[in-house]
């Protein structure tokens, strides 16, 4: 199983950041995907290469500020669980943690890389140039 984890501290309160991260239909606003489509507990995301992933939303817990999803019905990906946590660190700071566990294990690496881009975009969005 390939396991990666990325995290970033953001100088913004957890509820504000969760307002975006906890809206799975808005993924393309911060993660390097080109489009997002939702139907119930299903989500489809499209990458710049044209690849589309079908996903099941497993957890959307606004109290815990945890989002979990699985890539499903994929000819290559046999196992996947993605987890995004937004955890307060005081009143005005939080840490966003993006974890991926998957088979084939090597695919966890580019997803981890994309998560790094996404977290940086969140930080830029909520901190601006400060």
């Amino acid at each position: 199983m390939g396991t990666v984890r990325r995290h970033l501290f953001i100088d913004a309160d957890a509820d504000t950041v969760w307002g975006l991260v906890g809206a799975p239909e808005r993924l393309h606003e911060w993660f390097p995907t080109t489009s997002t489509r939702m139907e119930g507990n299903k989500r489809w995301i499209t990458l710049a290469s044209g690849i589309t992933f079908e996903e099941d939303i497993v957890t959307l817990d606004h109290d815990l500020r945890r989002f979990q999803y699985r890539i499903v019905n994929n000819p290559i990906i046999t196992s996947h669980l993605g987890t995004v946590d937004v955890i307060p660190d005081g009143d005005h700071r939080c840490v966003v943690i993006y974890s991926t566990d998957m088979e084939p294990e090597v695919l966890a690496l580019p997803i981890g890389g994309a998560a790094g881009v996404g977290l940086a975009a969140l930080k830029e969005r909520f901190e601006g140039n400060s």
């Binding site: 390939g2 396991t3 990325r6 390097p32 995907t33 990458l47 710049a48 290469s49 690849i51 290559i76 088979e103 084939p104 294990e105 090597v106 695919l107 690496l109 580019p110 981890g112 890389g113 994309a114 790094g116 881009v117």
Partner: protein, 516 residues
């Protein structure tokens, strides 16, 4: 007009691949002619023995600890220094044609420019500065998969040939262990593709096309980068007659007796035996499901034969490009630098591929600098140690520029006396791999005929362990003298020199965004 620069690289080529370096199978007359009229380096090492870190060193003139591309899959930042940008800024036209690999190849998000250029079928991104200083990038890698230009060209013009290439990855996206050829050797396949559509010839043809686009009075820097002879070993089947594997002797570095082979491996750092037995695959560059101890003598011979064929095709492609340069009247002003990014076991120690193994199989590289003939410089063989880290300063020197401020090593010397005056005393090589909990860190110095490798703490090795080879007396590095009391003082002196000359590693290490 100034001097033009043709920088030719291969991928994963051994020192002894070429006739000028004692190779006896592949006929390499064009490269040998460059060597006969130029400077041949007998002890050139890379600063890392896999592609992305080594190529990043070539471009930046920096050791791995400085540029930070510590393993394949770690992208070189777009803001990193680039000798191509330096040359571009003084008026050179610049191109990279063939394999770049400063950025990960496995890139489903199309985050990286190299892949976007290929996917969008352009040679530069409109509205952007030249990527890394190259006006023109037309890219290829090992085979038909992926987004790069050669793959797109093959898909568009010769789609039926795609399946003729060996599948580099298996269904689990691991480097494929499937055997082929006559012997079942991993990553071997006779490729039915016509020779003129194979990537070696494509790289040469695209290079000639770019040169044809330039005006006569333009100074230019062209990095012509062949993906071969890196695995998979799948040259055009029509060319296999050149070197029949049945006619190839086992290489000197292959230890036929299994007990002796394992004794030699057991005398090295522990990760060697772990890989040999298939229990410790520390890096993505070799098939995870292949067990090296199963390698047969005939498989070694077949891999070597296919490699020799690929090397011949490269030499012939170089000949065509040099003829095209000549037809433009540029020959007298042309500097040619030829090298590779790292070596290949090709059967040494009963192993194939590469990894954290700092011996000559992977570290001793072909390197030739044929200065512009109009200068009338004397041919030479240089025995002093040099590194690919000197290439950027060399290109600057050819262009009449001082050593760039970002470059960490002086230019290549023109003979041993020049090497001494420039301070070419030692060459350093680093290894860092962290792959899902399997960790190897090595630091190596070569000087005064000795290669000394210190392990840092990792999964199988601990700081204080290492390898020490007298490369003159033991050219195959079969005897590890790390614990030999008679050379303890020498070892400690080498280690002190290593630690005092190695740049401080940039920490935290940058993230690994792909396996390769």
């Amino acid at each position: 007009m100034g001097r033009k620069i043709l920088f030719i690289t291969t991928d994963q080529q051994r020192f002894d691949a070429l006739g000028c370096n004692g190779g006896i199978y592949a006929r390499t007359p064009n490269i040998d002619a460059l060597a006969a009229n130029g400077i041949v380096f007998d002890r050139a090492h890379p600063q890392n023995v896999v592609c992305m870190p080594s190529r990043s060193t070539m471009l930046t003139g920096q050791h791995v600890s400085t540029h930070g591309v510590w393993m394949n899959g770690v992208p070189l930042p777009e803001s990193a220094p680039s000798i191509a940008r330096t040359l571009h800024d003084v008026g050179y036209s610049t191109a990279l044609i063939g394999k770049a690999h400063f950025e990960p190849l496995l890139d489903p998000f199309l985050r990286f420019t190299e892949n976007r250029l290929g996917a969008h079928r352009v040679t530069a991104e409109p509205g952007h500065d030249p990527h890394r200083g190259f006006d023109h990038m037309e890219l290829a890698t090992h085979g038909a998969a992926g987004q790069l230009h050669y793959s797109q060209w093959l898909r568009e013009h010769h789609p039926t040939e795609i399946g003729g290439y060996y599948n580099v990855l298996d269904r689990e996206l691991q480097v494929n262990a499937e055997g082929g050829g006559d012997t079942g050797a991993p990553q071997v396949k006779a490729n039915p593709i016509p020779r003129e559509w194979y990537h070696t010839d494509w790289v040469a043809e695209r290079t000639i096309a770019w040169l044809d686009s330039l005006p006569n009075d333009r100074d230019w820097f062209c990095w012509m980068s062949f993906p071969d002879p890196h695995h998979p070993w799948d040259p055009p089947a029509s060319e296999l007659h050149r070197v029949r594997w049945q006619d190839v002797d086992l290489p000197a570095g292959y230890i036929a007796d299994a007990n002796e082979r394992e004794r030699v491996i057991d005398d090295k750092l522990r990760h060697w035996r772990g890989w040999y037995d298939g229990t410790f695959v520390s890096n993505y560059e070799a098939p995870a499901k292949w067990v090296p101890s199963t390698l047969t003598p005939d498989q070694v011979r077949e891999v070597n034969a296919f490699t020799h064929v690929e090397n011949e095709l490269i030499d012939e492609a170089i000949g065509r490009v040099l003829a095209a340069v000549s037809s433009r009247g540029w020959s007298q002003d042309l500097d040619v630098v030829y090298t590779t990014d790292h070596g290949e076991f090709q059967g040494d120690f009963g192993l194939l591929f590469k990894g954290p193994y700092h011996v000559d199989s992977l570290m001793r590289l072909p390197l030739i600098w044929r200065p512009a003939p109009r200068l009338g410089m004397k041919p030479a063989r240089v025995g002093r140690p040099v590194g690919l880290v000197s290439l950027a300063s060399t290109f600057a020197h050819i262009a009449g520029l001082d050593q760039p401020s970002y470059a960490e090593a002086p230019r290549l010397p023109v003979d041993d006396a020049d090497a001494d005056s420039l301070g070419h005393e030692r060459v350093l090589t680093e290894w860092d791999s962290v792959l899902f909990g399997k960790i190897v860190h090595l630091r190596t110095i070569h000087r005064d005929g000795w290669t000394c490798t210190a392990a840092l703490d990792g999964t199988m090795n601990s700081f204080g362990e290492g390898e020490l080879y007298d490369v003159t007396a033991d050219p195959l590095q079969h005897v590890n003298r790390w614990d030999d009391p008679s050379v303890r003082a020498l070892r400690d002196e080498l280690l002190a020199d290593l630690w005092s000359n190695l740049p401080q590693q940039q920490t935290p290490l940058r993230t690994m965004d792909a396996p390769v």
